[in-house]
């Protein structure tokens, strides 16, 4: 089953159904459209409903005669029975909501009914000797991979592993021991967050753990206060960073000019004013190809073109830059450094995590096709909160990478062969995050710590390196500092796909307390009690129902009630992760709500029995 953003906007689910008879298997598929507003809470409820329908379908025993005659009506009806979560107490009088649910359920019912009629027709045709449709399975797999963004169904397979084995000047180095994928219990508890950014949530979680009360006024904006001390947070911008440090770090040329005289390895390069392409071409020839072109104040890789090898490629790169969102900006031409992409987190002058960001790949097991290996890996990515909504997607770039290796989606790679599926290390394009801190060479760690220490007011930094082999000392491997990130994302180190997880926000908050001479006073992660007050347009919009649903799912006790016409109040008791996910998500709430602030206060209350919606 797959959810996708169709370019035509007509289809957002695709359900592949395989039935097995004594001697053969028949595969068919249905597709349709439910929950058209991505990111809205209702969409995730439709998605969960579809998942339930798929689960009910899987492993069902079918009556052979009814199947042969296409008469599976009662069974289909049972499969598509709406779930309690989908209905969510929608009363028949709540016409708009009710009609939407009815429409979704009947459309799936109709599609499945038709599918089984088609199965019956095909079985009859084949019984009469008609040949089965050519490469039908392959066409379905293609359809699935070309259009799917989320995949729920997968074949059985061994968990994917990651083995680090770099090339140094073309020579393959000894491999590191293979790493196995992580699975985090936090994933289901973080569901209320939906598509919200996790940075701010993770910081809020740690503030609550240290006994701070929190006031949130935006998706990424909150204040934490305790005993008269107040700290401000904006996404991952924390009190560990000063105003001049961010100005330096967000300007790549300024960073280079600052670090280079101090002897840190930054790639040779320089900045040019917007449109200064002639000079830039002369400069590229002076320092020699390959070079990289990027905007001076770039973020998220926008307008960046790496590994440019000729004047002609450089002209194309300028075109890419010009047409990007940052095309109006000054730009940088610098020497390209070979190696893989690393993000080293330095907090309070010490390296806390070193994450290798590897391009999307699968490792062959000699049994499964590339398509199946992608499905298997995506299933494991579902267990990583930070990667849950970032599966490996089949794109033109994937096709290009497979073509280069002479593979298709149906090829079966041999055991142990790594098949690269992307040219980019971006996690949102299916890249892997691997914590390699344990085997990183101490000289690289010292280099990272020194570089961050050199910048005043920078107690929290994600320093981006390109390194050929992180196990070798500086000097024996090609290495370059690409960027200092004063507001680096923290989810990658917290929830890596492979390697040990490092609670970076916890260390950041502890460092803030240390800097302000405040004692560490962590609460028990499983026994938190908070009172939440949400202000804004929060009554008459299903806010209490929404809180109650998520609280029950997260195993929380307490209650929720309307305090006045513009305030909803709740008491939540339970685990820190479930509580903080829900309190962060409260600033968004259900689709009709417009909350303006969420105040979370620690309280002492006796243990509630279950979760109550007070009417």
């Amino acid at each position: 089953m797959a959810d996708e953003q169709s370019t035509r906007g007509e289809v957002n689910y695709y359900l592949k159904v395989t039935i097995g008879t004594q001697d053969r298997e028949i595969t068919g598929a249905v597709e349709g459209l439910v929950g058209q507003r991505p990111g809205k809470p209702m969409t995730s409820r439709y998605w969960e409903y579809l998942e339930t329908v798929a689960t009910r379908l899987m492993g069902s025993q079918l009556d052979a005669e009814a199947l042969a005659n296409g008469r599976l009506g009662p069974q289909v009806k049972a499969w598509v029975e709406p779930t309690a979560e989908l209905i969510d107490d929608a009363r028949p009088l709540d016409l708009r909501q009710w009609a939407k649910i009815q429409r979704a359920v009947s459309s799936i019912h109709k599609a499945l009914k038709q599918l089984f009629i088609d199965f019956a027709r095909r079985m009859k045709g084949e019984a009469r000797g008609a040949p089965p449709a050519a490469s039908e399975d392959e066409a379905l797999v293609e359809a699935l991979f070309t259009r799917a963004e989320q995949v729920l169904y997968l074949p059985e397979g061994e968990p994917p592993t990651y083995t680090y084995q770099p090339r140094l000047q073309g020579v393959l180095q000894a491999p590191s021991p293979p790493l196995h994928p992580n699975a985090f219990d936090d994933t289901p508890l973080m569901l209320p967050l939906g598509t919200m950014d996790a940075k701010s949530h993770l910081m809020e979680r740690e503030c609550l753990r240290q006994g701070f009360n929190v006031l949130r006024t935006g998706k990424g904006v909150f204040t934490a206060d305790k005993a008269g001390q107040r700290f401000y947070f904006k996404l991952s911008r924390s009190p560990l960073v000063s105003v001049d440090a961010i100005a330096l770090c967000t300007h790549k040329e300024a960073t280079r000019e600052f670090l280079a005289p101090l002897g840190f390895p930054v790639p040779r390069g320089r900045m040019f004013p917007s449109g200064g392409y002639d000079n830039a071409t002369r400069y590229a020839n002076l320092i020699g190809y390959p070079v990289v072109v990027k905007p001076a104040t770039g973020v998220r890789g926008i307008g960046v073109v790496p590994n440019i090898r000729s004047d002609e490629e450089l002209r194309s790169a300028f075109h890419v830059l010009e047409t990007s969102k940052l095309g109006h900006d000054d730009f940088i031409v610098e020497k390209h450094i070979f190696g893989e992409d690393y993000r080293i987190m330095v907090i309070g002058g010490k390296v806390r995590a070193a994450t290798l960001r590897a391009p999307a790949s699968v490792t062959g097991d000699g049994k499964h096709t590339v398509a199946e290996l992608i499905l298997i890996k995506n299933r494991y990515r579902q267990k990583i909160p930070h990667l849950k909504s970032r599966p490996i997607v089949y794109t033109e770039s994937t096709q290009y990478q497979l073509d280069k290796l002479g593979y298709t989606l149906h090829s079966v790679p041999p055991l142990g062969e790594r098949v690269n599926l992307s040219g980019s290390c971006n996690l949102s394009q299916g890249g892997d995050s691997v914590n390699v801190h344990h085997e990183m060479h101490p000289s690289i760690i010292k280099l990272a710590e020194d570089a961050v220490k050199a910048v005043p007011g920078l107690d929290y930094c994600g320093i981006d390196f390109l390194i050929e082999d992180h196990r070798k000392p500086v000097g024996e491997t090609d290495i370059g500092i690409c960027e200092l990130n004063a507001h680096a994302a923290i989810g990658t180190a917290c929830y890596p796909m492979f390697g040990d997880a490092v609670n970076v926000p916890r260390q950041a908050i502890e460092e803030i307390l240390h800097n302000h001479d405040m004692p560490l006073a962590p609460l028990d992660d499983d026994r938190i009690t908070v009172k939440v007050r949400v202000r804004g347009k929060v009554t008459g919009v299903g806010f209490r129902k929404w809180v109650a649903r998520h609280a029950r799912k997260g195993g929380l006790n307490g209650y929720v009630k309307n305090r006045d016409r513009r305030t909803v109040e709740a008491v939540l008791q339970g685990s820190l992760v479930a509580i903080s996910s829900l309190t962060t998500a409260c600033i968004r709430g259900p689709s009709e709500a417009l909350p303006t602030s969420v105040r979370v206060m620690h309280v002492n209350e006796s243990l509630h029995d279950g979760f109550t919606l007070i009417r």
């Binding site: 904006v221 107040r230 960073v241 300007h251 005289p261 002076l286 000054d330 007011g457 602030s597």
Partner: protein
């Protein structure tokens, strides 16, 4: 035509206002520092002593004249009017009546203005530039509608754009193009509509949570006057605001008050703005002694050093594209400021230029600041690295 600039004041007057505060800090710190590194976006790092072997030097940093002792998220909250208003209101501090509106709610802001009563003030909710963009004295519905539309016309900021705030949250939004092909800010970008209050403007300068100076003026006046008898309640109010905005080592609080010498009570005062910019340059001529005290407090450096004292330094400019143009321009600019310049190295390919200069301290400060920020010059380097001689 040769231009002569014979005083620091004359140069200060000729610069854009957003670069003046940085220059004042620079003039305070440069003569007292062994090494100074000036980078794009008005970033300045001052090293107290030359680098020693094996030591990672720790400079003092400033950006646009704002001290690096201000913590980032606190400054970002200062730039976001809704964020600081919400926090001040929760602590019982009176703020001016206002509401914010996005491009989607064009009618709502007109309705709200009617409710507030004209005149009103219009300003962006989040300040992404160094200018405090606000339009005062809006007297009618037509005027407001026109100005609201005009305010939303897209202004793109380049990295080298001096007006762009280097520490604001990055805005990477899609352009919105109307039927006439004009580029607009996205509809979600919000503007604040405030009641324009009558009364005197009171400006409190805060350092480390304490009121260190207070000025007042009538809105129509240019000149800020020192408040001789600031009522204790305003001092307490200032400290309370600074307490709420923890993380701001230096903070400017603007209020509208009936009279700063009378106790702050319900209805006779309201906070209208908070900012990380102290704007000492606005006081430089009228209150030189107090301004100097403020600068010394913010910048540190050596008190009592005269800007007319002679200074000798070596500087390296990086990122030069046209050597000849730079040479003639640099010599001309140095002469205009009374500096004796000797060019020691000029490499057009690597973009590096090295020169020695001797002259009054103010001229050295001014020349290096002008070059670091591309003020009135054609050939703009990406950095200026200055080593003090002796």
């Amino acid at each position: 035509m040769d231009v002569r600039i014979d005083s620091f004041g004359a140069l200060l007057d000729s610069l854009p206002s957003i670069t003046k505060e940085g220059l004042l800090i620079h003039a305070q710190r440069l003569p007292a520092s062994a090494r100074t590194l000036l980078l794009p976006r008005q970033l300045a790092y001052y090293y107290d002593h030359p680098a020693r072997d094996g030591e990672i030097p720790q400079p003092t940093g400033f950006v646009c004249g704002v001290s690096g002792r201000n913590l980032l998220p606190a400054v970002n909250f200062c730039q976001d009017i809704r964020a600081w208003r919400a926090r001040l209101e929760r602590h019982g501090i009176k703020v001016v009546s206002a509401a914010s509106f996005s491009g989607r709610s064009q009618r709502d802001h007109l309705r709200y203005a009617k409710k507030l009563g004209y005149p009103v003030v219009l300003k962006p909710v989040i300040r992404n530039t160094l200018y405090e963009e606000f339009i005062t004295d809006i007297k009618s519905e037509d005027e407001l509608e026109f100005l609201f539309r005009k305010s939303r016309e897209l202004k793109k900021n380049k990295a080298s754009d001096l007006a762009a705030s280097p520490y604001a949250m990055t805005r990477l939004s899609e352009d919105h193009v109307d039927e006439h092909g004009r580029h607009y800010l996205p509809l979600s970008v919000r503007y604040m509509l405030e009641k324009q209050l009558e009364g005197r403007q009171l400006r409190l300068m805060m350092a480390e949570g304490q009121v260190v100076a207070a000025f007042h003026k009538h809105p129509q006046d240019e000149l800020w006057q020192i408040v001789e008898t600031l009522h204790e309640s305003y001092r307490v109010l200032g400290e309370k605001v600074a307490g709420v905005m923890q993380g701001m080592a230096y903070l400017r609080i603007d209020l509208i008050v009936d009279d700063p010498s009378i106790e702050a009570q319900e209805g006779n005062h309201a906070v209208i703005a908070l900012s990380e910019h102290l704007k000492c340059y606005k006081l430089y001529y009228d209150h030189p002694a107090l301004t100097q005290q403020l600068l010394e407090r913010v910048a540190g450096g050596s008190p009592g050093r005269s800007l007319d004292a002679p200074m000798r330094f070596a500087a390296v400019l990086a990122g030069i594209s046209h050597g000849q143009r730079l040479e003639s321009e640099l010599m001309r600019t140095g002469r205009a400021m009374g500096l004796d310049l000797t060019l020691e190295e000029l490499d057009e390919v690597t973009g590096r230029v090295r020169f020695q200069a001797v002259g009054p301290a103010w001229a050295g400060c001014a020349l290096t600041w002008v070059y670091a920020n591309g003020l009135g010059i054609e050939e703009v380097p990406t950095s200026v690295d200055i080593q003090m001689d002796g």
